[in-house]
Assembly symmetry: C2
Homo-oligomer: 132 residues x 2
């Protein structure tokens, strides 16, 4: 059993390599002897991650603000606190904040052979601003 | 991708078969094509689950109140909002509220061959009240 107290958790800036805009990440579970990673991510307005896939899938639980999730080929969907999204293995998608609100979610990635994510192209401003 | 809006989620009473005391559970992810289940659980003061193990392990993220987690053979530990606990596969343990506070956590169980939990004996009042 591994217990981390809230006071020990640290916030790091989101890496510019995989995100458009600014935000923060708190690693809750990582490199532990369990087959998943968990992080709390806060996106500033307009911030979103690049298109990506998860070999083992992902679960998003929205805790604050307003955001979007979009699966490739489908319209983006609005996300509000308490909403839950299951992203299946290898589904290409992105998520991030609306243009006018902070957005925070808890993201759980199931690992497949230790692999968490495959990053793809940035979400262009045109893709981001398409009508919902 | 499966999106559930907060407004569609329902609270159910905790099953008396596996819990001492009263509480509520909201199933966030269950029976979906991803290898984990997620639930938000609220324990009334003094409520706790039975001793149990998870074949694939479990992650607890505390969202409200005060609670305990105890691994068999170790002292129980106090849990506060923002604390994160990783319970490894097959570690015998229980969790629940303190005697004087509600307690809410998000619990993620990794499935192993579709199996989520093995329930064992109730946590006796003597075990529950042992000094931390």
């Amino acid at each position: 059993m591994i217990k981390k107290s809230s006071s020990s958790l640290q916030s790091q800036r989101l890496p510019a390599d995989y995100f458009t805009g600014n935000g923060w990440i708190q690693l809750l579970v990582r490199d532990e002897p369990i087959h998943c990673n968990v992080a709390k991510v806060t996106f500033e307005p307009g911030c979103r991650n690049h298109w990506h896939t998860h070999p083992g899938g992902q679960i998003l639980i929205v805790t604050e603000g307003k955001g979007y999730v979009q699966k490739k080929g489908e319209p983006k969907q609005l996300l509000l606190p308490g909403d839950v999204v299951t992203i299946l293995a290898n589904e290409e998608h992105w998520h991030g904040a609306t243009a006018d609100s902070l957005f925070t979610h808890i993201a759980t990635q199931l690992l497949l052979d230790g692999k968490e994510v495959n990053w793809l192209d940035p979400v262009t401003d045109e893709e981001y601003s398409q009508t919902q």
